[in-house]
Amino acid sequence: MVQPLLLSLALSLGQAEPGAAEAQSEPPAAEEAPTSSALAPAPPDRWLLMRYLQGTWPGWLLDSNRLQISGWTDMSFTASTTGQNQLPMGFNYAANQFLLQQNWLRFERSVVTSGTTEPTFGFRSDTILPGNDYRFTVARGLFSDQLTANNGQPNLYGIDPIQFYAEAYIPTIGRGLDIKIGRIFCQYGVEANDAPSNALLSHAYTFIYDPFTHAGIMGTLKLTDAWSFQAGLMLGNDIFIDPASSPYGMGSVKWAPPDGRNSVLFNVILGSGRFNVAQNFHNPEIFDLVYTHLFNPRLHYSFESLYGFTTNVPGIGFANWFGVLNYLTYDFAPRLSGTTRLEFFDDVQGQRTGFSGLYTAITAGISFKPRRGIIIRPEVRYDVNSSALPFENRPGLFTAATDCILRW
């Protein structure tokens, strides 16, 4: 008798509640509307200064005109087996010394690349204000007298308006045509002039001894989701308005399917290719290929190969150089990644670094972001030249360095 009662009790509990019919006459609960954040495009990064200004009148003036002010301070210390400086390893070249590498100020008005068919206009101004990286990036004809201001030697710290351009974006030509006029970063290679864009603190020879910026006009046309092209007419490499400037062309083709697993970028910089003896100015021709591959969401690989040459170099004639670079990066966590770089750079005649021979450099470092606006990048690096003694009369150089980037 107990079993049937238990069974009936269990089945009764499974029945609809007596009040269910009445409950249906209640006003229906409002459907969960998608939040605005799910529909809106991702907002641009806002760093400390813009966050501080948010909600104030100056902040509103900037935001309502799509203007942003931001920047960062990059400080480094490099422990080294050399005594004074590590050149030809550039940028963090001062051995066993603290360096303020970049104090960067960025003022920009971004163009609108989605959600409109109207052309939009913007600009960007990037200035090293000050920092010792100016020594490598400063363009002739634009504050370049700092390179000889210290009794014929460069000042330790200097300023460099490293990039400034006006920009127009026309979304209805192809999948979007972007035009820039001004001084623009060179578009080739894996590494970049702005410190936060790099995985490692130190730079590769392939980056250090090739052009950093152009001055002129450049167009970028996106033809399909995967293919885009660039073409530009420039005044030369690392030169502004100056008697030594000469017409140069740059071009690139990029294949980057939307899945993001692979991409290829081929870039050329073509001009006279002749060393300007009268003005003592270097006019290289550059051919660069970059391939990237994503093994999985955490492990990615980049390969770069570069060939450059110049003719008519005093005492040398034809000078050429090669670079091959391999980067392997693993993201241990959203705030922690590790990168290794293996570089072979052959300065065949020694025209670029001052010492001929094959440089081999291996670097391992991590990038740690304890807070959103702080990046700490410790690394160890070993460089060796196969046939010369470039590092204070030694063939090899061992460095252990770290830097800290504070974004504001």
Binding site: L7, S8, S36, A40, R51, G55
Partner: protein, 258 residues
């Protein structure tokens, strides 16, 4: 075997008993008639207003829901005083019908809720939410009302407001009635050269308030805003017991000549 059969029969009994004919529609209904409503933004100086919605819905024949949602923000301008407000007013005529001739009297309930945020920056500025008022009237006689008190913050104070009143009830006969509802949000900031953040009175879901108008480090970061605003629910049901308003308790004390 018999025991099991007995068990199944016993188990099926409740559902057999409940298999009544489907319920018909409500015995009393509301028919919406003329409406006169407005949301008036007022802005002077460095200000922002958003929302301004007056939403009247009838989710069921015996229920109407009225929502008023809006935002007012006033910031620190170097040479101008700033004031912003959003003023809401609604007059909604409706008719109460008895679908079942046996029903002689209906019970009307009025329920209100008010949810939102008030923010100011230390030093100056104020943000306020004015009285939120809803009244059911017949002609010039106010039969039933709810009123939520106003709130104001200044000089760095911040306040999250979540109020609920009702249900207040009254017994009525069929006929024409009207609902009058008012609400105001406002913010003010004097001119100053200091880098003060704006004062804001936020009583509307996203995206009425552009987040760039308030501090990045605002005190209510991540608050759910989908229910923000002043919402009044008016519901009617048959007064089966024939109880007059005296038995229902609350309303007649509030009823008064307008």
């Amino acid at each position: 075997m018999k025991k099991w059969l007995f068990g199944i029969v016993v188990a099926a009994l409740p559902s057999l008993v409940r298999a009544e004919p489907p319920t018909v529609g409500p015995q009393v209904t509301i028919t919406l008639q003329d409406r006169n409503s407005q949301a008036l933004p007022q802005r002077q100086g460095f200000t922002h207003t958003g929302g301004g919605n007056i939403d009247v819905t009838q989710p069921a024949p015996d229920t109407i829901v009225i929502s008023m949602t809006g935002v007012a923000v006033a910031g620190a301008h170097p040479i101008k005083d700033s004031t912003a407000a959003m003023i809401f007013e609604l007059d909604q005529l409706f008719e109460i019908n008895f679908e079942n001739p046996k029903v002689k009297r209906a019970k009307v309930t009025l329920e209100g809720r008010l949810i939102g945020l008030l923010r100011t920056h230390p030093g100056s500025g104020s943000a306020a939410q004015g009285p939120a008022h809803a009244a059911l009237a017949c002609g010039n006689v106010e039969l039933l009302a709810i009123e939520m008190p106003s709130h104001c913050v200044t000089g760095g104070e911040n306040l999250s407001v979540n109020m609920h009143q009702g249900p207040a009830a009254v017994g009525l006969v069929a006929g024409q009635y009207h609902l009058h509802q008012t609400f105001t949000v406002s913010a003010a900031h004097p001119r100053t050269l200091k880098m003060c953040k704006a004062s804001s009175s936020e009583f509307a879901p996203d995206p009425a308030l552009d987040p760039l108008w308030i501090s990045y480090w605002e005190p209510f970061h991540g608050a759910l805003k989908k229910d923000f605003g002043f919402q009044v629910t008016l519901k009617i049901s048959p007064d089966i017991d024939g109880n007059g308003p005296e038995q229902l308790g609350k309303p007649m004390a509030a009823a008064k000549r307008r």
